[in-house]
Subunit: 188 residues, 2 copies
């Protein structure tokens, strides 16, 4: 951020009075421009025991597989956002969404809200941001070609709990280490 | 938003190609400025059966009571944000935070992530954004002077479940009706 989005003047990075973090401040019109984490809403759509994955047609991680998920929009609910992303990315109608995981991706300032649910009719086809869509049984999941750590973690936990017969709600932080590897901190 | 925060040129509100929503677009440098919901992280701090509330020293709802909560910052986890807000608003150290509620406030594009937890030592005192802090037993809660619907709903559910002896994780939408009343949609 270099300019004030309200008046167009250059902004300055400074700690405002009473605050303890640097903010982009406009000294012309007085606005403080806060920047906050974004929410990614997604889901684990199941159909007859298989899980819907999408192969990404966009960066980052072009060509790799992911659960349908994307940025929540202003003016919608988190549940609606997760359903909308399944529709946009896979032309899939998901139902009975239940909160399944909440992960903070600290290095990119994102919070993933992952729901579990069911496809209404088993139908899916690639939306604009997907190269292909596929229903995978657990033993068919392309674990080595998953796009994101949070997707890997969500699917791993989902299959383990499905086998055990009880789903929880999971909270974790995904931390990028200095060596660029990801570490997961799970909360009880 | 009137000006591009990257180059300072005026922005135009238009639907970008491949999108279906109006965005603030800069035709000079090409940046699309997305605006997304903000996360409010908070907690229900318990100490010897009583709950810590803060009386707000800031607008909106100056003078009314609330659970410690505030905007999550970039570069932190949701759990850390909830603990930080308790420290900032009530000089209170909270422990053992567990996700308790996730509420979408559609009319203000906010998602509340509410955790339950315990005060480490029972100590609390007003931070800069609080007029006073108080530990309240269930029968002492100032229900008519609570600042926000989401706080009312969270506390109501918390006490009901504490009496029943089992806590769940709750998902809901808080919707402002045309008559300015709030309606809560709860998901199973």
């Amino acid at each position: 951020m270099k300019f004030c989005s309200q008046c167009g003047a250059p902004v300055i990075l400074r700690v405002p009075p009473g605050d303890n973090r640097h903010r982009h401040i406009c000294d012309v019109c007085g606005v403080i421009h806060y920047q906050n984490p974004k929410i990614v809403a997604g889901c684990i759509p199941e159909w007859e025991g298989r899980i819907l994955l999408c192969r990404r047609a966009i960066e980052p991680r072009y060509g790799l597989w992911t659960l349908p998920a994307g940025f929540m929009e202003n003016g919608e609910s988190a549940v609606a956002a997760a359903a909308r992303e399944a529709l946009e990315e896979a032309n899939a109608v998901v139902e009975n969404l239940r909160l399944y995981g909440m992960y903070s991706l600290i290095h990119v300032s994102q919070v993933y809200l992952m729901f579990r649910g069911h496809l209404r009719d088993g139908y899916a086809s690639p939306g604009e941001e997907s190269l292909e869509t596929q229903l995978y049984a657990e033993e068919e999941i392309p674990w080595e070609q998953l796009a994101f750590t949070v997707v890997h973690e969500t699917l791993r936990q989902y299959f383990a709990e499905r086998r055990a017969g009880a789903f929880g709600v999971h909270v974790g932080d995904i931390i990028r280490e200095p060596d660029q590897q990801f570490r997961i901190h799970r909360y009880p």
